[in-house]
Amino acid sequence: MLLKTKQLSKSFGGLKAMNKVDFELPKNEIRGIIGPNGSGKSTFFNLVSGIYDSDPGSYIEFDGHDITFTPPHEIASYGLSRTFQLLRLYQDMTVINNVMSGYHTRVPYKFFDAVIGRKKIWDQERAIKEEMMELLSFVGLADYAELNASELSGGQRRLLVLARAIAMKPKLLMLDEPAAGLSPVNVDNLMKIIMQLKEKYGLTLIIIEHILKVVMDTCNSVTVFDHGQKIAEGNPAQVKDDNAVIEAYLGKKMDDEEMRKALAV
């Protein structure tokens, strides 16, 4: 198992944002996470990536490390990368610097070498830049490398965030609504790029997405959250027909008798 949680809980005051979730994710899987707004999908991401501290009694394991109370930067150094729903782009940095800052955990030299400014540093920096330029041209942003990130369009920003998350060569990539606000053509394009990146880097993916078509088409398995609880899990076809899921999204499924009664009023 690459990622495993046991009894994962988080409460904000009286609100149980995440309530005793057991979650397991094997390597090389593409897992979709769906659920209505406020069901705890993003909270799950924040707990796993260490942005929030989980409540006592929770347990999170990633790639053999216990990361329950580990600070986020250490979790990232184990190879867990994530994107944010609100992108959190480094607006005032150039596109190439955005991507290169994602490389941070892999920077090979020590601080002291950087202060002295040894030749080794500049060689390595150039190698990093070349590698990141390759990544940028892979997602199609190479022409914009020197521009500020704030000058990109919405779709390009999504691609940049993706490239930045990939830059650290993660084992697990968690995407929080990667396609939100994109037109259908761009969604297809983005999903194609994500799949190519998965093949290229051997990633395991968790995708939160509201566009169900994307989830059903690309994911091997789907987990459904509602009110901070896991209500269903399985392959896309199973989950689609699951009563609890339909209830969470649309309300209770009624048979004909119940329907007649309800309408008769």
């Binding site: 942005i51 959190r88 610097n97 800052s101 950087a114 202060v115 400014g117 030749k119 540093i121 022409d143």
Partner: protein, 329 residues
Amino acid sequence: MEKFKSIIRDYPFIAFIIAFVILAFVPSVVFTDVYQSHLATLIFVNIVVAAGLNIVKGYCGQVTVGHVGLFAVGSYTAGTLFLYLGLGFWVTLPIAIIVTAFFGVAMGIPSFRLEGPYLALATLGGGEAIRLFIENGNFFRSTFGISDIPTPSLMGFNFDSPDRYYFISMTVMIIAVYFSFSILRSGVGRAFMSIREDPICAAAAGINVKKYKILAFILSAMFAGAAGAVYAHMPPGYIHPNNYTVIEMVTFLAMVVLGGLGHIWGGIIGAIVITIVYDLTRPLYKYQLLIFGLTIVLTILFMPKGLGGFIDRYFLEKRFKKKTGTEKT
């Protein structure tokens, strides 16, 4: 030319050695009187402070208004070491840098919790506290200031006049700028920038936010300490608490803002311009604060990236046009 460029790219310090040689000939070729050397020394001191301030404010995005306090710590470490132990420049400079680094840690700790204007208030308090502490103790000779701090001498040669001290301040400046240049060009500079832009995302990308924040404060404090020591030993070797007030802080801030926050040469450009303007407007001393306040406001309004960013932008747009053949929208 191409070969020369690639050599510079591999060994940037060669460019700094060239700059050193050029600057070394400036006094004998350009300057007409001693006062200009004195002014040049002031510029160099300000460059060192501004380069340090650019690390913590421009790159790491931590709004500190107490930097002048750190500058004072550097000066007074050098001053008191001379006063009580009779130590000279070559000893006081490194000690001043180390002591100021510790004060930098103290100044940086509030940044774990506070942001933006609140951090500015906390650091303002820190800076003022340092000044008041110096001002109210006879230990620091606050009433008359510490005077006759000796100029350094090297192998029998004494740098005892402004046109000789020029070489000391220039050397310190070149070394400091070289360090700031290599730090900011490396991954450390990128980590600083990520923290400025978005600390949460930076943490998720594997950057230890607390460590890098405190590192930025320590580095910039070391710059301020070095500048303070050089300032203290500058002929005529006199320091007084009145030289470390909020007014000085505003000029330091004006330097960094005008030069370009987060631009690698930002503090340096700003320090040169502001120091010269400061000197030219000396007859209008009543309005100086007004002038620098206005400079900060107008720069932020009309040139948010300062002179450095303005120049960069010009070349960037030229390159972009050449590459894609289109205007950027």
